[in-house]
């Protein structure tokens, strides 16, 4: 997985300076974004961040206040939905309940007045493609949620749209079905090479499925990047907190901005550009990056810690550690079950830990973040 996201040179979908308001509420504020041909881009964010609104604007189901949208070089900003070229899948499946699975898939083809034989062949092909060759004669209510969503996907893809829009398609499904279906969707998308915009609030789905992730918050884009990029180099504390777990420690830079005071501790970091000397900062580190029970006492940022609480989470444990000299900000570390056994860690045990300088991310200012 590559770490840096390339802006597609000749994007298939280009969104420029989109603004959308609902009464006094600014739902989208100057959003710009490009999606390359065949790319899978995810709009990720908490509810109310504007991701679904953006998708609906791309679909023409919502009218924006300002900005332009280009698809395959054509300005579609003012086109009604039926003149745009996309297939869409909703969380609710929205299969027509009175039509069989096959007739649902055929619906778009019938609108284009294709010959009957061609439609039937195409429907068979699509049913096979989504792995449900035998359910064509069944009605939606006779299918499971996962099956219904596959049919909805087939219906959207039947007319070979240039763009596939997925509006939280997995959110209504059981956890197990969700996991298998997200891989299937991704495989299918890769095979067909259809440009896809996917909306979700589930960071795991975003990380697994996307070529690039657009992290949105309060109507703005916080970061656009590959899954690895947004995970390893979150551009803001919001992104860091929303994707995966993150420890935040408030601090203050010294003369040398690479030296940070946190409580009575002094932490070294290597990232220094854009950080001013003598200014408040927030130090962030992922739980899995905290090294436990370090033997070599000469490294940087080695602190003695005590296990305050221990949560068993199956294959790994989550430890809440109090760091000496920084009692009021306990940090969370994660460790696999067998490492834990090897290191004799249990509730109440004390040992030195390291916050490796290269794993620390520094954000300017004190950020109000839930611990």
């Amino acid at each position: 997985m590559e770490l840096t996201a390339k802006e597609p040179k000749d994007p298939y979908l280009r969104i420029e300076n989109i603004r959308k308001t609902f009464g006094d509420l600014v739902a989208l504020d100057d959003i710009s974004l490009t999606v390359g041909d065949g790319e899978f881009v995810t709009l990720l964010g908490p509810s109310g961040c504007g991701k679904t609104t953006l998708l609906r604007i791309i679909a023409g189901l919502e009218q924006h206040n300002r900005g332009e949208i280009f698809q395959a070089g054509r300005n579609i900003s003012r086109l009604p939905p039926r003149q745009r070229d996309y297939g869409i899948v909703f969380q609710s499946y929205a299969l027509f309940p009175n039509l069989t699975a096959a007739r649902n898939i055929a619906y778009g083809l019938e609108n284009r007045k294709r010959p009957k034989d061609e439609i039937n062949t195409r429907v068979e092909e699509l049913l096979k493609m989504v792995g449900l060759p035998d359910v064509g004669h069944k009605y939606p209510a006779q299918l499971s949620g996962g099956q219904q969503q596959r049919i909805a996907l087939a219906r959207a893809l039947a007319v070979s749209p240039g763009l596939l829009l997925l509006d939280e398609p997995l959110s209504a499904l059981d956890a197990r079905v969700r996991i298998s279906l997200r891989l299937e969707i991704k495989d299918l998308q890769k095979k067909l090479g259809v440009t896809t915009v996917f909306v979700t609030h589930d960071q795991e789905e975003a990380l697994v499925m996307s070529d690039r992730i657009v992290v949105m918050n309060l109507g703005t884009i916080d970061q656009i990047g590959t899954p690895l990029q947004v995970y390893r180099e979150p551009a803001s504390p919001f992104v860091a907190d929303f994707i995966g777990m993150m420890n935040f420690i408030p601090g203050q830079t010294n003369n040398d901005p690479c030296s940070i005071r946190c409580g009575s501790l002094a932490l070294r970091c290597i990232e220094s550009d854009s950080i001013e000397p003598h200014s408040p900062v927030t130090v962030a580190i992922r739980p899995e990056d905290i090294r436990l029970r370090v033997e070599d006492p000469t490294g940087a940022n080695i602190i003695s810690a005590k296990v305050k609480a221990l949560e068993f989470l199956g294959s790994f444990n989550r430890l809440t550690l109090t760091l000496e000299g920084m009692d009021e900000f306990p940090v969370v570390a994660e460790v696999s079950i067998h490492r834990m056994r090897d290191m004799f860690i249990h509730e109440g045990s004390s040992f030195p830990v390291q916050l490796p300088p290269e794993q620390l991310r520094i954000y300017p200012g004190k950020v109000g973040i839930k611990s």
């Binding site: 603004r19 308001t21 609902f22 009464g23 006094d24 600014v26 504020d29 100057d30 679909a59 023409g60 189901l61 009218q63 924006h64 206040n65 300002r66 900005g67 900003s77 003012r78 086109l79 009604p80 939905p81 039926r82 003149q83 745009r84 996309y86 297939g87 869409i88 909703f90 609710s92 929205a94 027509f96 309940p97 009175n98 039509l99 619906y107 778009g108 609108n111 284009r112 069944k138 009605y139 939606p140 209510a141 006779q142 219906r155 959207a156 039947a158 007319v159 749209p161 703005t220 884009i221």
Partner: protein, 578 residues
């Protein structure tokens, strides 16, 4: 990245949007909006406006301000009928809602054999024109009634007593439906929790049952009050010299040709009806908020002996009351000369309705009614469901949508007499091009559709709201014109609701009197209207016979609709169960 805070301050209506290019379908939608809107304006708003203006004019057509109202209120006789109207409506409301509540409570909460039968009994009055039960009560309790003659007690049916008895009967199904629905929404878990806390039956009733159906009771009160105050048939037949607003309008217009005073009283009648309507809308909005999903339905259980006795007595009383009316009509229709010669006879069925210039037989008037009901049902269903679809399933166009919604719920607040009279002021003007429809079946159909517009409209809206709003989006993304998705998906899925609407319109059109009493011309008398004419001519045996024919027609239609419904449900079941 975020814009300066100032830009967040925007006007009430928000910023302008980048509007989408309009295509054929958008123009078609707009065209349909305009058609329905214009229709409602032309056939409802404009006539009402004419009526209102007419109430401010004298006979010569000169504007006289509120003079007519002053004249109205200076007359003690006039004031009396206003008081009478309020009096009988209030009493009918209290009695009807009380009986309907106990009846509905018994059917849903108390152990009972033959529940389905009693449910059917409660609905029986809808097949009878409002004046027929009044006729039946006269047959039983009138000066020559069977009860009066056999028992020897005259309860003085003519006047308030008879009107109230009739209105209670007439409004009973409406109150029953509302209260049954409200009672069905109760959550058994509340009662289980109360029982776990050892709550007594009476306390449970007062703290859980009553608050739960509070809005239902209020709604039922408004509906019964409105039905009673706007009803014309019963006061016409059994009122005697006890005048109410509805009969006053009739007497002024038909008896004295005093259209100005008719318009004035109509405007006065609009006020309580509209007030009840507005209050009901407010109450219903709050009721919706109370309905939570996933309630556990109640099952009947034993109550204290006294409570059970009361419930069973009310159920028995109401059943006797309703069946009694039907029975009286049945016997009356086949009786030679009630009450003097009770021998069996078919002669009542052979009659002519004596119009001013025309004579029409039973088959003729019945056929007129069936035609009218059929046309009302077909066109009404298409227009009402179509406009509900337009309002519910159109993106954007928010202003036209809310305007059309408002126009669509207004008819419920317009009494039939008022609507009918207002049509005279628009369509019975020989110089006007609209005169062409006066005296035709067309105007009777239009009038009846408007009169009964709102209830089916709300039924359609509810059915459409229950449908996934994304069907339309999917259709659009697949380049289906909206009318294709409408025909292929919306209509099939909403078919049960559509049949229900058609049935409602048909049955109401069969029994309506108040709205069409001013609009018929000799030759197109409707059956229910002819019952009134026969009764006016003191030919009550024939009135009974014709009533029976109306009831039989209603039952037949209901049966056909039931079969259609069964067919639709079978189809729906095909989609829903494996």
């Amino acid at each position: 990245m975020s814009a300066p805070a100032v830009s967040l301050r925007i006007g009430r209506f928000g910023e302008r949007v980048v509007s989408q290019r309009l295509g054929f379908e958008d123009y078609l939608r707009r065209f349909l909006f305009i058609i329905v809107g214009l229709g409602l304006v032309l056939f409802m708003i404009y006539p009402l406006f004419r009526l209102l203006m007419r109430s401010l004019e004298n006979r010569g057509g000169e504007f006289v301000g509120l003079d007519n109202y002053v004249i109205y209120f200076t007359s003690a006789v006039n004031r009396a009928s206003l008081i009478n109207s309020l009096n009988i409506s209030f009493q009918s409301m209290v009695i009807c809602v009380l009986l309907a509540f106990i009846y509905a409570y018994g059917l849903s909460r108390v152990p009972l054999v033959g529940r389905r039968i009693f449910q059917g009994v409660a609905m029986l009055p809808i097949f009878i024109p409002s004046l027929v039960q009044a006729l039946a009560f006269i047959y039983i309790f009138g000066n020559n009634g069977i009860f009066t003659r056999v028992i020897g007690i005259n309860i003085g049916i003519y006047g308030a007593t008879g009107i109230i008895m009739s209105e209670v009967f007439y409004a009973f199904p409406h109150a029953f439906i509302i209260l049954s629905t409200a009672l069905a929404l109760a959550d058994a878990r509340l009662y289980e929790a109360a029982e776990a806390l050892r709550t007594k039956g009476v306390r449970m009733f007062l703290t859980i049952t009553l608050p739960g159906v509070k809005f239902g009771i209020m709604s039922a009160c408004f509906v019964v009050f409105t039905l009673a105050i706007t009803d014309f048939g019963a006061p016409k037949v059994v009122g005697g010299d006890y005048n109410v607003l509805a009969t006053d309008i009739y007497n002024k217009v038909i008896g004295q040709q005093n259209f100005e005073m008719g318009a004035t009283i109509s405007t006065l009648l609009l006020i309580p009806a509209a007030a009840a309507f507005i209050l009901d809308r407010i109450v219903q909005r709050r009721q919706v908020a109370m309905v939570s999903s996933g309630i556990k339905p109640m099952s009947p259980k034993k109550h204290q002996p006294l409570a059970q006795i009361i419930v069973y007595s009310v159920i028995a009383l109401v059943t006797i009351y309703i069946i009694g009316v039907y029975f009286t009509v049945l016997v009356g229709a086949f009786t030679n000369f009630w009450p003097y010669d009770m021998s069996f006879s078919l002669k009542n069925f052979s009659f002519y309705v004596a119009g001013a210039h025309h004579r029409a037989g039973a088959v003729h008037v019945l056929w007129n009614s069936v035609q009218m009901a059929f046309l009302t049902s077909v066109f009404g269903t298409i227009i009402i469901f179509g406009s509900a679809y337009l309002i519910e399933k159109t993106r954007n166009l928010n202003v036209p949508r809310s305007l059309l919604y408002l126009l669509s719920i207004m008819p419920l607040s317009i009494p039939g007499m008022v609507l009918g009279l207002s049509y005279i002021f628009v369509f019975n003007i020989p110089a006007s091009p609209l005169y062409a429809v006066y005296g035709t079946m067309t105007i009777l159909v239009i009038n009846t559709v408007i009169h009964y517009y709102t209830v089916p409209f709300l039924t359609a809206t509810t059915a459409l709201k229950q449908m996934d709003k994304e069907f339309e989006y999917i259709g659009e993304s697949l380049e289906a014109p909206f009318y294709r998705t409408f025909m292929k998906v919306t209509v099939p899925v909403a078919l049960p609701a559509i049949i229900q609407i058609a049935s409602y319109l048909f049955l109401n059109a069969m029994v309506t009197i108040s709205a069409v009493v001013f609009l018929f011309v000799p030759g197109n008398e409707l059956a229910a209207l002819s019952v009134m004419l026969l009764d006016d001519a003191a030919r009550s045996g024939q009135a009974m016979a014709l009533s029976l024919l109306i009831i039989v027609t209603g039952f037949t239609a209901r049966g056909l609709f039931y079969l259609m419904m069964r067919g639709a449900q079978k189809k729906t079941q095909e989609w829903t169960i494996g």
